[in-house]
Symmetry: C2
Subunit: 290 residues, 2 copies
């Protein structure tokens, strides 16, 4: 599924994958910035805790967003596909200025939300300017192609990353989370070299990529975001490797970026915090053509 | 990657996945219909043999299309990513009325063509009315999400289908080929239940699905096309199953359709050969919103 069309008079909302394990008790820097972006004291946040099986997960996040000053926080405890037709939940989504997807299991999210009115509304509202943040599994599901599982390894192996269809809020990237903490470089390299149009984003814990409507993202948080760009890849042994064999991948570009760094997904260029971003000439939606 | 936009005055070309092993010497029924659709005696066919490592593959298909009366047949022997910048190949694509992707290995196709000007042009030309057919690996790569590999089994198992990003000529379906011959129902059930927005198409050898611009396809050939529709799925154990474990998937709809049957991908409805198709009220591009 690909991002919904932006209407002539709208600007796409931010897409904000968070690498999991973010600070939820002290500064709550990432959540604070998400609430500010969503309207601050006028923010209306919808929390979707579907990825998690723990009843407390959604309540925890609801409290955080209330503590941070949001005007309204709605919890949508969707636990099965039939819940996706609940008109009350659809109304809650319709009035949200920000939508938050908790962590848990990304296949639980895709099997319950996939192809429902809830999934469709999240895409459409994002195209109409609503910001969507997700942590851990909630980060993975955001892109068209999602990493559903795989091995921990620093070297790429055949079959190291298993993919599944995600929500499709962006199709420029494929997202991995708990990145440095769980040693996932190998599986991100495998995932992004399947088809070099995808830019791999490996997001550390307590770290987020705030992807703006022009396709430039900024790193926020205490860790780093690793970018894998396979567009100049000259060779991949992916198609001829046996099960579990190490892959040969030549000419991959990798960036490891700390807080304040920005990356232009349209022009595939990294910027340091104090560097002027040459704003992409193309609107973000043009990314889809490559 | 999602299908390119159709301009106001254009109609999308057909997308024609073929299940492999099609008759290439006698009636060549499927190839004949593809040539007729592409203009018959005025047809200009571009053959992309990249999936195959055999030099003869592209030549064989070129001869078939010439024999069937195409005015011009161009062979684009793209064997590495650098070949995708060859201006001669881009020109050949620009004048094609039909594009044919041979069989071989779909990961060879995605790793070599993915993110290049060739992939972009195939998508854009298809949106502008050029028909694109592909057999075996060439069929798998056509959709946004492609089955890259997996097990032969009639029951769905965790991990039975490995996915990778495809060319994105359609994002309504996920395609499997050599379907009955290689006992692939299990992996198609697994693949389409990852995210129920996808309709699974299992295409037998010597059989094709001619997917028209309105999102209705017709079965052509001596075998069947199996459709898996998971949109009413009430339960999937995908997210909680251990590696290789059998899956529980409840309320999947399956159709097995022989020659002349049609299926409406927008309204998810199957039609017998002599049944009137209630043409979908929505244009095909609307499929993308669900």
């Amino acid at each position: 599924m690909c991002p919904a069309q932006v209407n002539a008079n709208s600007t796409r909302g931010y897409v904000i994958p968070i690498g999991g394990g973010e600070d939820r008790v002290k500064e709550r820097h990432i959540h604070r910035r998400f609430v500010e972006l969503s309207g601050g004291r006028a923010a209306n946040i919808a929390v979707i805790p579907t990825a998690s099986e723990l009843e407390t997960t959604g309540l925890d996040y609801s409290r955080i967003f209330s503590d941070l000053g949001a005007a309204q926080v709605d919890l949508l405890p969707i636990a099965r596909r039939a819940d996706c037709d609940n008109p009350r939940y659809l109304e809650m989504l319709d009035r949200a200025t920000g939508i938050f997807l908790t962590g848990g299991n990304q296949l639980r999210l895709s099997t319950i939300l996939g192809g429902t009115g809830i999934a469709q509304r999240i895409r459409r509202h994002n195209a109409a300017g609503v910001h969507v943040a997700g942590t851990s599994a909630g980060a993975s599901i955001m892109s068209e192609h999602m990493i559903a599982g795989g091995d921990s390894n620093s070297a790429p192996l055949e079959g190291a990353a298993s993919l599944a269809p995600g929500l499709g809020l962006t199709n420029a990237v494929i997202i991995d989370q708990h990145f440095t903490q769980r040693n996932r470089l190998g599986r991100l390299l495998s995932a992004s070299s399947y088809n070099p149009f995808l830019i791999g984003l490996g997001i550390d814990e307590d770290t987020a990529a705030f992807i703006g409507p022009e396709g430039v993202f900024e790193v926020v948080g205490s860790g780093t975001v690793t970018v894998v760009d396979a567009s100049d890849q000259t060779h991949s042994s992916m198609w001829e490797a046996g099960p579990g064999q190490p892959l040969t991948l030549l000419d991959l570009k990798v960036h490891v970026m700390g807080e304040g760094c920005r990356y232009d997904l349209v022009n595939r260029r990294a910027y340091l915090p104090d560097e002027q971003t040459a704003f992409c000439a193309l609107p973000y939606d043009k990314v889809r053509s490559y």
